[in-house]
Every structure is written in C-alpha cells, then in structure tokens.
Symmetry: C2
Subunit: 485 residues, 2 copies
C-alpha cells in the first residue's frame, strides 16, 4: 500500500476494540492529548497518511479531525495542517530555560575557555566529513577507533609531543579517565598514584575494583624512590605538568620511573592532559617518546577544544593493545565515528595547530593577569605551577583553605581547594591552597572573577591575627620570575 506513506509526524495510537473505528480513533486521539502524550502545537500527520498507517479510509480520519477541531482539541488551518490545541488542565512541555540552573563565577580547574571553541572551523570539518566519508563510517567501527584519526594522531603527537606512536598502538577513548579505567582493569593490580592528583581518576579506578597507593610528590614530580618500594603493577603520572601542583617531572626521575617499569614489567600511565600549553621555552616532551614499551600515553581534546566532545586517545605499549581492546568490546562502543573523522580532518587541515597556538597566547595572557593581581593585592601568597597549563596553585596558610572556599562561595565564586586532590591514604605534609582554573571564566567576566577571588582570600587572611608571624606564609617570588617567560 503506497498510501502507507513517507510523510507527516509519526504517531503511536492504540484504537480500543469493541466500538466502531471512528469512535475508537476519536477516543484514542482525545486520550493522547488529554494524557499529555500529544503536546500543544504538535502537527498531526495528514489525514491520508494516518489513514494509510491505520488501514482506515481517508474520510474517516478527516471526519475525526473535523469533529475534534470543532470540540477544541485540534486546530485546523488551511495550508498548515492540523495541530494539537492547548487544552486547559494539560501541562505544557517543560522548556529548556525552566530546567537549567543559573551559572555563577567559576575558577574550577579542568575546563578550557568554552567561548573560544572554534565553531566555524569545526563546522567546516564536519561538513567535509559528512560529504566525503565512506558509508562504512556510519556502521559499526573498529574498537581501536577510526584509522583516519589514528593516523592523524600518530603524526600529530610524534611531531608536537615527541612521542613515538604508530596508528596500530592507538586506541580511541571517550576521555583520559575512560582510558585509565581500561588500562587499570587490564593490569589487574594495585596502581601507584601521586599523593596529590585528580580525585575523579582515583574514583574511576576504585570503581573498577582496583586499589591505589599514594606516592609522595614534590616540585620535581613523583618521588620515584618511593615508587620503587611499591609492588604496584603500574603508576599514573602527569610528567609534563604535575596535576595539580604544576611542575614537570625531572629528567632523573623520568629515567628512574622507566627503569622501574622496565625491570618489573610495570606500566607508566602518562596522563598528558595539558601538554600542549607550555609558556616557557623549556620543551617538555612526552615520556612515551623515550620509553614506548613501558608507557601508556593518554591524551584528550578536553583542554585543547572542549570537554563536551568526549574524545580522547591512548598510545599503548604493543602488548597492552589486545588486553585493552578485549575490555573495550568488539566494536567502538563509545565515541562517534563522525566526531573521530572530524577531529582527523581538523588536525590534518592544520586548524588544530592554529587553535592551540592561539589559545596558548590567550591563556598565557590570562595567567599573567592572575599573577599580576595576586602579586599586587596579596603579595604574601606563593603562586606555583605557572609555567604551563590552564591552572595555577595559590598556596594558603594552613587552616585557611576551607574558610577561603566558603568565603568565595558566599560571593558566588566556585573554587577548588588543594585538599580535594589529596589521596585519602597520603601521609606526607598537608598542603593547603586553591587550584585556580584561570581558563574557565568567560573573558568578559575574567577581571570581575579575579577580583572576587582576591576579595574572598583577603576577607579570610585579614581576620587572622598576626599575619607577619605565620611561619607557613611565604612571599610571592619577584615579579620577573613569577611572570617568566
């Protein structure tokens, strides 16, 4: 039947039995409107199409529409079809505006400047992909991810991050956290993590039933002597830019970590979460480049483009590829193939490099403004981890972190304290401070947000008795070094 047609809205209607078809259809339509299943403004299919769907005559359906319109359930307008009328007592569908919450000031770490997403260039890449992609891009995909993206990533990472990656070692993931959970499951043993590190990654690992053991961390990175004393099967590191403290791992410690992994058959999970953003001229390449057999490298577009894309990658030691794929599933279960091809196009057209360079300049400028304002208003505070990345650590006197966070919250500013990132089993010295995500605010709010931050900190520190005598407050380093490069 060709009237079973390719037109009009789709509609689920159950006609009650035991009455004539017209009475049944009248009842079904009234019920759908009254129950709220058909909301005001919904356009009904043309009478001919609905008649085809239900196996009724066109006249029967048209008659029902006329009758329901006369009774006020529907509105029929010449040329624009039949739509559901607003019916008193039936609640309207909620609008997006009514459900979403209001934004506040935020310096929470972890997000880039979302207003800088390259909408136009990304749109161009998607359009190109949707025009040119082979049909198989819309079917089930290789669990490694699309080969086009793995090739683009290998070339890009080898060029910009000093990795030694082959597309066959690369597995696409929804995020670094996703990659970490897969590797943690594959290793099936305790993971060493920094005593200060991303709490969410610790949670994801724990959710897999894998225990973590904290390792001390200082300005040279993870304490590799302590690492050597563990029986962990792997270690989660942030060698380019320790999260959250901010330093790069020293060359010596890199070497020791690699030796440890090599001698014990362990894996170093290298979370290169913001390796693209380095503001001094000291290149900090990926650990994977010197130890591709010991290192599982993890990257993502969350800091360079947007955390809303849910797109990351692993560069795995060869013998970890199959175990990780076994856990990931027989096909790509997580990341849209269209998004993968779009990122491949975005990288290969040079737009990714251009965007990273543009944002590097913008973030360095934001960092300078943060350091300037803090140096001016709160010169006694130490600011750390400013040579790279999208956040800085503002150290606070012991016992003040929680109060400062509360003072900020009272002013509508969300900030995160260092304590959040401390491993619950960590034993070393307690550090207090704020991890300031200076990439987070919209640029138009940046000055105001920094002012609120300083106000909040000041309101707490000024209430404390003898500021000069506190042993744990250190003066900000001289302007030259705090702003370098």
């Amino acid at each position: 039947m060709n009237s079973w047609a390719n037109s009009g809205a789709d509609l689920h209607l159950e006609l009650p039995s035991g009455t004539g078809v017209k009475a049944a259809l009248l009842h079904a339509l009234r019920d759908a409107v009254q129950s709220g299943r058909l909301t005001a403004g919904t356009r009904l299919p043309p009478a001919r199409a609905l008649a085809g769907d239900l196996g009724l005559s066109r006249n029967t359906v048209a008659g029902c529409y006329t009758e329901l319109a006369a009774a006020g359930w529907l509105v029929t307008r010449q040329g624009s079809g039949t739509v559901v009328a607003p019916v008193p007592g039936v609640s309207a569908p909620p609008s997006a505006r009514a459900i979403t919450r209001r934004p506040t000031y935020s310096l929470m770490p972890g997000a880039p400047d979302v207003s800088a997403f390259p909408r136009g260039d990304w749109s161009t890449s998607i359009r190109r992909v949707l025009n040119a992609a082979p049909n198989d891009a819309f079917g089930p995909t290789d669990p490694r991810g699309r080969v086009e993206l793995r090739i683009a990533l290998a070339t890009y990472l080898n060029r910009t991050r000093g990795t030694r990656a082959h597309p066959q070692q690369i597995v696409v993931s929804a995020s670094s956290g996703h990659g970490i959970t897969l590797i943690a499951r594959a290793l099936a043993g305790t993971l060493a993590v920094d005593a200060y590190g991303l709490h969410l990654h610790r949670k994801y690992i724990a959710d897999e039933g894998v225990p973590t053991v904290p390792i001390a961390v200082d300005e040279f990175g993870t304490d590799t002597e302590e690492l050597k004393s563990t029986t962990a099967k792997g270690a989660l590191l942030t060698p380019a830019h320790q999260f959250p403290l901010g330093g790069p791992m020293s060359a010596d410690r890199r070497r020791i970590a690699v030796e440890w992994a090599s001698h014990n058959g362990c894996v170093l999970l290298e979370d290169d979460y913001d390796g693209e953003f380095r503001y001094d001229r000291k290149p900090v390449g990926a650990l994977q480049g010197i130890a591709p057999r010991e290192v599982a490298y993890l990257g993502t577009v969350s800091k360079t483009l947007s955390p809303a894309l849910r797109l990351g990658w692993m560069v795995l030691p060869e013998d970890l590829v199959e175990p990780v794929l076994d856990l990931k599933g027989p096909y790509e279960r997580w990341v849209s193939a269209i998004d993968q091809l779009t990122l491949a196009d975005f990288i290969e057209s040079g737009k990714f490099d251009r965007h990273v360079r543009k944002m590097r300049v913008a973030y360095r400028h934001r960092r300078d403004r943060l350091v300037d304002m803090l140096t001016q208003r709160l010169p006694e505070l130490r600011i750390e981890g400013i040579a790279a990345g999208l956040h800085a650590v503002v150290r606070l006197p012991l016992g003040t972190e929680r109060t400062v966070i509360d003072a900020a919250a009272k002013r509508g500013l969300a900030i995160e304290g260092l304590s959040t990132f401390r491993h619950p089993d960590a034993s070393g010295t307690l550090a207090e401070g704020i991890v300031v995500g200076y990439s987070t605010p919209a640029l138009s709010l940046y000055s105001a947000t920094l002012t609120v931050l300083c106000d909040a900190i000041e309101s707490v520190l000024r209430q404390r008795p003898s500021r000069a005598s506190r042993p744990d407050s250190t003066r900000t380093s001289p302007a030259r070094s705090s702003k370098a490069p």
Copy 2:
C-alpha cells in the same frame, strides 16, 4: 614576546645542550626527520615563528632551514613555505587505505542501511547547533545529558512510542548496552534475561559482575510464569519485538511482568531497540507507558540513524534516576554535547520522523524481497519475526546451522546463527536458524547477497538425505501471511 606567535605548525624540539644553538637546532631537526617523528610533507613553521618559540633569532632558524634544504632534508618553495622532504630509509606514514580491511557480503543483524544516513539533513542540524548553541554547551555537562535533548526525546517518545516520560527521568547514554550496565550495577542483583537474547548485552552485564538467569521465550515473548519463579532483581525484555525471535510480548504477559515487578520491587528493563519499525498495522506501544514506575525504557539511534553515533537514552523510574547518575559520574562522561544538541534539533525539526518513515518503507520492501526469494527457492523453510524490525529468523533443521554459516562464509557472506544468542545456561529446546539482518547490505548488493544466502543454505540442505521425512522442517507459511501486511 609577540613573535611567540599564533602561526605555523606546532613542533616539539629538544635542543641538545653543549653545542651552539645553530648546531643544536640542526641536530634536533635532522633527528626528528630521521626518526620518523616529522613525516614527509609536513609543513614547518615559518622561521620567524619557530624562532619565537625557541627564543632564537630569525636568522639562525632561517639559516638552518637553508642548510637542511641544501642537504635534502627539507624542501623550500617560494610561497608555500618549508616542508619535510621524503628521506630514503624513513618509512612513510601508513595510509588509511593500507590498514583497513576489505568488506564482504554481510547479513549480520544489528546495523541499519548505512548508506541511507541522512548526511545533508544531519549536517544542517549540526551547523545550526554550532551557530546557536550557548557557550556552556562546550563545557562540562549535566550527567543526565543536555536538557534540550531530554525535552525533545520526552515529546517524541510519548507521541510515537506511547511512553509517559518526563525530561527529568531521562538519562542520556552512549548506547542501550551502556544503559543496561548502569542499571544492572544499580540493581546489584541477578538479572533475568530471555533464553535467546543479545549475547553482547549478557557479556556487558557479566562484565559488571552481575549474574544473569535465562527465562524461556516463545512466540508470545518471555515466559512470565517462569519469570515469577525467580528471585531476580530485574528482567531484561524486548517487549515490542523479541530479539532475536521476533514476536511482540502478549498483553497478558505484559500485565503479569508488570505485576511481578510491582509486587517484588523489581525493574523491567525494556530494550526498545527497533520499536520504530513495525510493518503491520498492529501498534505495539512501549511497556513503559503502562508502568512508568516499574519500567526502565532503553532506546538508541543505532537502528534509526546509525550505530556509529553512539547515542542512546534511558527513561527511568523516578527512584532509579539518582542511583544511575551516581554510577555514571558527576558530569556527562560519554556522549558529545554537540551530538546531543544535533539530535534534539533533528527531532524537533521533524526530520527524524521523516527519516524513520522513509526507512520503514525501504526496509519493508527489503523484507518482502527476502521472503519472496526464500519462498521461491527454499519453500520448506519457516521464516519468523517478519512483522517488524530489521531482521528475520530463518529456521533451519537441527544440526545444519553451523554448516550453513560455514558454507556462507566460504562464499564471502557473514551471517549469524540463532545459537549465538542462546544463553549458555538455557535448558529449553534447542532452536537452529539464521538471524538475517536484511537492513545491513548496501542496496546495490542486496540481490546478490540474498542469492549467496540461498546458495549457501541450498548447498547444505541438498546434501542431506531425505528432506521430506525430516520432522523438524516446516513449510513456509502461505505467501499472503508471510508478506502481510
């Protein structure tokens, strides 16, 4: 320094110490090319930009470029910059063509016609989203998923599938399988599943450490008397179209299942994987519509649009929303917010309905061709589950399924047997047959694929001795009923 500029490709170079800067740069560039990190054809940054990055003079960098070009490492062309030359002995990057495998014929179930993806309309929706989306769409998102999509889904599902869904009960997921694992974890007890069902879903549930118990299934759906005798915390059902057998669950059994869930505080997981595709005029609404407190409804675009998008949704009983969100994480970890907004636009602009109706006509036509050819060439075989969906079950005599699959594989055709879907602990009668995914082949290959299928089955059945005397072979039902509607 403004020469630290916003132009040119990004490059990771480590300058060895202990030599002059020019010698160091020459060494670093040669090494990057020789090790394959910089591949032939890569465009280097302009000398001014690289000089800015490294804190060298423009002349030093330009001199290096000239020297390396003279030695054959680089090629400098007026107007098109400096690119890496092809160097003998250094392997070229692999091309996508070299890595991908050749496709074969396939009637594997689970995929729609990938050539029918609405590329143009999808592209229009994405462009609209990228133009109009608020900035917060590029930041971390509500773990429920974007509210715009949840509103669009509630309206769409209530209208077309007869659900009673509110946006606040909807949680976006990467797939039905993703939703099932989250709910299985949240219920933390044995799940009842059909004795014949999707093996991947059983695997995902088992991966979460949750045991499954098989329940007999027949042409009226899951055997609810057997279900009532279990102590399961929930049951995974496909009420609209049992997978893989193909029947709808009877009204009686629906009622019994709901009563069972209601009295025992259990949850019915309704996997509505292809509910949009129904070819007769008997509407089969979602179970969720009659029991929103007992049913967790699961849907996805995998059959309507593409399994490559990795986009699904749950409509949860109110008291399951928070437990599922706790397991999913504090923000949307899996599904791109851009894709979510695009689907919302696609639904609200009416293009989703139009696409579904178009594909419904196309798939019904494919199904008719399958039934016609099988009826003609292998009239003794029974074909089941043809009133809906994207697959049919062709029953085979006991003991022939494996041989038929092998015969098909020899002819380059991938097919899936019924046995694959049988629960390993199932005790009922063994069924053999082929689950024919008739939506899978490209339309241009459809006739050839059906011919290969019939050839393969014939080659096995013709070798068997006395075909007429086999008790388990049933004649195909008469043409009228097999093609109805």
